[in-house]
Each structure stands twice: as structure tokens, then as C-alpha cells.
Amino acid sequence: MTHWLQRTALAGLITLTPLAALAEETPAKGANIVVTYKDDIATLDPAIGYDWQNWSMIKSLFSRLMEYTPGTADLVPSLAESFEITSDGLAYTFKLRKGVKFSNGREVVASDVKYSIERAVNPKTQGPGAGFFGAIVGFDDLSGGKAEGLSGIETPDDHTVVFKLGRPDATFLHVLAINFASIVPKEVVEAEGQDFGKKPVGSGAFVLKDWVIGQKLVFEKNPNFYVADTPKIDGFTVEVGQEPLVALLRLQQGEVDIAGDGIPPSKFLEIKNGPDAADIIVDGEQLQTGYVAINTRVKPLDDVKVRQALNMAVNKERITRIVNGRATPANQPLPPLMPGYDKDFKGYAYDIDKAKALLAEAGYPDGFETALYASSTDPNPRIAQALQQDFAAIGVKAEIKALANANVIAAGGTEGEAPMIWSGGMAWIADFPDPSNFYGPILGCAGAVQGGWNWAWYCNKDLDARAIEADSMSDPARKDERAKLWGSVFTDLMADAPWIPVFNERRVVAKSKRMGGPGNIYIDPTRVINYDAVYVKQ
């Protein structure tokens, strides 16, 4: 048996070398910062939390076997000291770091890893992330209620965990880095039951000190965190119920350090053109694509020519203007930062005449009536109206249905219900930086089911086969080959035009002037805000 062995004693990475350009900045000691959000923080239970507010907080409360280098999409071992993968890609063996303790003082051992993953999969947990672990042997039994645990996870000793997979999964290391794979202490979870999400206990960089419901959450540094010099602040307070606009005004007055909801459209230009812009604004790309899903099973959208015509009808430049230029027009599902993105792909150019011609060819010279669903939170209704006007230019009358997210999601997951959906507000931000995460649930056949997220109800068996092939290339050496294969899946599917990729939204965060560090720790591609890495300038 030949083992492909990867020893990763990447001490350098774990101690987080500051980027050279900012080397002269020294983090101030003992700093506490204030972060604001409009909505309540839902839960801090890592098996359940799945929105962009609590995502980064959970990241910082818990540790996982794998982690990303701050500000990048580079995977590194974290709670694991090292790991081995068999050449067939079906078994992963992790050696745990010794002496890591939960905030209640108990050491983290291998059985905690097994328990945590099983808990994420167990239907009783009602966790949304169960599906990520589908490759592990025994998954179907556990999620179907036929077993209590995952037979594919073994713990030969307290510091060794072995995962057995039923099929090769090139994304498995990413899966172990997402929140759902966070390690939780069994005894605390069982004691707290469903309240664990309000009283979380983990082994991450921070500890939750206090939670005043509807007002604030207080996080404090974990003094025993196993990564040296991390975190760089003594704590942070998350204030909720803050209107973005108000938060921003307070930020300008120095009362707030990070406005979590970003900069509201109305304030954006004022701040961008203001004198403090460079100090306050962090603007960067994220793994996001805003698209219109065109339901391939609803007449007349089932005609590929119609879908192509709609693609050509959208004036993406104008829509990016409506969001004040905080996005880049897109032509394919994958965002530019994602491995596999095809720079040379041109997609459908804005061409009304050609769109009309295609419509006529399809038998709709005078257009038709249809509906466009969208989230009811700003700016999505406005974008939907811009799209509506674009469609109207080629004779397609789309009625706008701006609904609460839940209702849009429900409509999208019901066959034949929503002809078109603008994804904004529920947009696809990658769980982890791998193209496969952009395919299965939202474009693959598996997602085109009742309650699924493939709102285009697009199912192409050939592409599905190629996707499986690509995901089986778990050998890191074939990384580039795999990316290329994935890229072709996405560009090829554009021939069927199940989506109108509209733009890749950039994330714009406002931070107070005293906050230091590179921009990408405020718009971390895997964390949103990387609380472990941010610091206050001295």
C-alpha cells in the first residue's frame, strides 16, 4: 500500500505572518472592538448556524481539523497536527494536536471529533450541513435514522481519527474546514440541549462571555488558544439591531469598529468620495455570483433560445451602476476568484436585436408574460425592476414578486412555480473555495428536486457525470486538471443558459480608522470577517 503522505508542519502558516506590506504595524495590546449587525444573531451552534453573520463568529469560537490561512483560500491543518490520505482517496487519517482544551477546561480528544461530525449529520440535530458529509461511510444509515453513529469514523486512540469514504471526494478537506465540522464537547452539548447555540463551548480563538438577547454579544479572547499570538484583540462586542445607516454614522464617530452589514447604498458614494475613504473602506472580491435562475421546466422558458435571448437582454453594466458599482458584470456561474474560472469565456453579450431575433425564432416575436421572483430586501427589488425593464425591451413582461426570502426559496424549490428568480439576498456565496460547491445543489440534477436549491430545475446528465469525475480527482497533484475540468462544466452549461449570471458582487466593509491589517481579513473568502486576525493599530 503506497501512502501519499503529506506532512504539514506549517508552523509559519499557523503563526500567521503578517503580510510584508504591513509589517511596520504593531497590533495594540488589550484592545476591544465593536461590531454591529441589524439582525439578531441566530445561533452559535456550529451544527446549525448557517448565515453570514454567525458564520464568522462560529469560526472563531470553535476549532476544526482543517483551517484556511487568514485572508486566503489556502487550506492548512489546524486542530490536526498532520494528516494522511490513501492514494485511492478513500481514507483520511488525522493526528490531533495534543493539549488543546475546550473553554470548560477539558482536553479535546479524538472521540470529540467523531461525536461532532456525527452530531452534524444526525437528523435530530436538524442541521443544514448534514449533506456535506455524504461521502463518509455510514452516512445514509445515520441520516436515514437506521444508525446512531457513522461507521466510517474511527478513533484508534485519543489523538487519531480515521475517516473512511464511500467514494473519492476531492473537497473532503474543505468539508472538514467548514463550520459544520467544528469540534464540540459532548457533555456540554448534552447538558445544554437545544440551548447550546446560546451557550456555546468550543476550543477556538474566542469565548462567548455574555449574550444580551436583542442587544449584544460579548466575546473574549481564549488565553489558551493553541495558535500563537492569536487572536490579536482581547475581545469584541457584537451589537445587534443596528440599522446599517446608523451603524455607519456611529463608525464615522468612532463608536463602532466594523459595520457588519456593510455600507448602505445611500451612504456608499458619500463615503467613497470622502476624505477617509482609504482608511474606512475595505473593498474586495468574494466568492459570489448574482444570477437569475431561469426555470427550464416552465413554458416558454423551457426553450433554450428563449433563455439565451433573456441572457442577451440584460444590461449588466446598468445594474452594476444601481449597486453603485460595487459589483463586476459576470458571464459565467463561477466567480473570478474560484479555481476553474475561465477568463477567456465571453458568455452572452448585451444585444437586444439578437435577443429579439432569437425570441422570434423560438416563436415569440411579441414576447410573452412571465414572473420574476426576488427577495424583498433592498436593493433586490430595485435590481429586479431593472431586470424587468431590460426584459420589457425585448417584449417579455415579467411580473415582479418580491417576497420574504423564505417564500422565494420555497417557490424556487417547488417544481413549476417560479419562472425566474433573482438570487440576490439569497445569493450563492461559496461555503468553501471549490467549484464543486457551485454545482451540485444549485445546478446539478441532485438539486432539481422538491425543496432543492436548483431553481433553474436544470439537469444535464452529461455534466453531472463530468462533475463526478472531477470530484473524484482527490490527488492534489491533479489540482489544475481538476479545475480545468470543472471550468468546462460551467462554461458548457452556459450553452443551455439556465442562468443569467449578472454580476459578481464585491464585498465592501466599513471599518474604523484604528483597525489595522490587510483588507482581506475583513472580507475573508472563507470567513467574512476574520476575528482571529483583525487588530487595532497601536
Binding site: P265, K267, I322, P379, R382, A384, A386
Partner: protein
């Protein structure tokens, strides 16, 4: 004639009526007088950075965040407000009149059951109920109107109930009964005409409440849906702009205020003139 005369003697009522007529004409003539199409996203309606443009020669009241002419949208929004005001409130008054009159006339277990039901509806926080209802059914103009009617009839029912109870106790109803008049005759020939002033007054005053409620629902995003313009959803779409583009909040806000105020003034004057219990007072 007396009504017209007394009405015209009140400056506030005349002012109210004038504004109501103005809004009505604006709404009816919107396609003729509006400078642009209501949902036309004008290319020069946004700055190059995508910001709305303040009031100027081309756009008298400025543009909104999609580059549409605000004046045009306000004019078309008046249609929404008036349609909802009249339809929703009309329905509410009709339901309230029916339930209140029936409960007040029947009394006994049936009347009690009806009033317990209105009590129940009273115990719902009205706006919250409207929000829930509007969020449940995909909101559209008519759904919003019906939601508002569902919420607003209760008040009318209570007032009509009290009044009917009073009427039933009055001697002339007793006289009718002693003459052998049937229920239908008493209710429709004798009670209903006496409730008409109340119905007219609420038909007017209620429009003010309805316009406000519609605006509030739209402001919360569960009312009339874009691109259909409504004064509430114009503010909803641009509320975060109120520091950088205050005209987007101020002008629709004034429109709502003036319209609601005017219906209130007209309704109040009508109440003074029509309500016999108030008549003796001054």
C-alpha cells in the same frame, strides 16, 4: 343643501376637500399630466455613479434610486392610495356595518357571538396582523386592500353595534315593533338609514387610516409591490437614502400626510354635520 352650506362654512373642510379633489384629479389624469412613464428607468435619471438626482428642471421632484421621475411616480402612486383607500375602506365599512348592525339588532346568543368575534379581532394588534397577512399572501394591490379591510372593519363594527343598540332601544323602533313591522323592514327601512351618517363619516375618515396603513405596509415591504408605485413603497425603496436624497422621503411623506389629513378634515366636517348626537352641541 344644508349639508353643502354647512360644509362650505368650514375653511378646514374646504381645504380638505380641495386637496382630496386635487389628489383625485392627479390620480385620474396621471397618464396625461405625468412627464414620464411611471416605471421608466431613465438613463439620465441617475448620476454616473448610480445616485438619484435631486429636484431640477427636468425632474421637478428629482429621481429615485432607479432613475425614475419622482413626480410621475407620486402621481401614479396616488392611484394606488386612492384605489386601496376606497376599496379597502369601503369593504371594511360594509363588513363593519353588516356585522355591527346584525349583532346590535339580534342581541341574544347570535349577537353575542358576533360581538365576541369582533372582540377577538380587536385583541389582534392590527398592524401586526396586517403584516402577517400581507406576508402570507403574496402581496398585490387587491390583496393589500383586502388585508386592510380585514383589519379595519372591526372598529366600524363596534361603533355600528353601539349605535344599533341605541337605536333598537329608541321609541320609534319600539313603535315599529308595536305596529307589527318585520325584522327586515325594521333593519333596512328604519335602522339602516339612521346608520348612514356613520357609514358616510367612516367611509371618509377611514380612508385616511387606510392610506396610512397601506403606506406603512408598503414601507415595511409587505404592501404594494414594485414596480407598481405606492407612496409607501417609494419611501421603502429609498429609506436608506434619506440623508443623501431626502426628497425621496419628504415628498411622498408630504403626499401621505396631506391626503390622510384631508380625508380626516372632510370626514370630521361630515361627522359634525351628519351626526345628530353631535349636532346639538354647537
Amino acid at each position: 343643501m344644508r349639508i353643502v352650506h354647512e360644509f362650505l362654512r368650514r375653511p378646514t373642510a374646504v381645504f380638505g376637500l380641495a386637496v382630496v379633489l386635487l389628489v383625485l384629479i392627479g390620480a385620474l389624469a396621471a397618464p396625461l399630466v405625468a412627464p414620464y412613464a411611471p416605471d421608466e428607468q431613465l438613463f439620465d435619471g441617475l448620476t454616473l455613479e448610480g445616485a438619484p438626482i435631486g429636484p431640477n428642471g427636468a425632474f421637478l421632484l428629482g429621481t429615485d434610486t432607479l432613475g425614475r421621475d419622482l413626480l410621475t411616480r407620486l402621481l401614479f402612486g396616488a392611484r394606488t392610495s386612492l384605489i386601496i383607500g376606497v376599496v379597502a375602506n369601503g369593504t371594511a365599512v360594509a363588513i363593519g356595518l353588516g356585522v355591527g348592525m346584525l349583532a346590535g339588532y339580534l342581541r341574544g346568543p347570535a349577537g353575542n357571538a358576533l360581538m365576541r368575534f369582533t372582540d377577538l379581532m380587536m385583541a389582534f394588534p392590527a398592524l401586526l396582523l396586517a403584516i402577517v397577512l400581507a406576508a402570507l399572501f403574496h402581496p398585490s394591490l387587491w390583496i393589500v386592500a383586502m388585508v386592510i379591510a380585514m383589519v379595519n372593519w372591526v372598529q366600524v363594527a363596534r361603533i355600528v353595534y353601539t349605535e344599533t343598540r341605541g337605536l333598537v332601544e329608541r321609541d320609534f323602533i319600539l313603535a315599529e315593533r308595536s305596529l307589527g313591522a318585520g325584522h327586515g323592514r325594521i333593519v333596512f327601512r328604519h335602522i339602516l338609514p339612521h346608520l348612514m351618517p356613520t357609514a358616510i363619516v367612516w367611509g371618509t375618515l377611514g380612508i385616511a387610516t387606510t392610506v396610512l396603513l397601506e403606506a406603512t405596509l408598503s414601507f415595511l415591504g409587505v404592501g404594494v409591490q414594485p414596480p407598481e408605485p405606492s407612496w409607501g413603497n417609494i419611501i421603502f425603496e429609498s429609506q436608506s437614502f434619506f440623508t443623501s436624497a431626502p426628497w425621496l422621503v419628504v415628498f411622498p411623506g408630504i403626499a401621505i400626510l396631506l391626503t390622510a389629513l384631508s380625508f380626516n378634515l372632510v370626514g370630521d366636517a361630515l361627522r359634525d354635520i351628519l351626526d345628530p348626537t353631535q349636532r346639538g352641541r354647537m
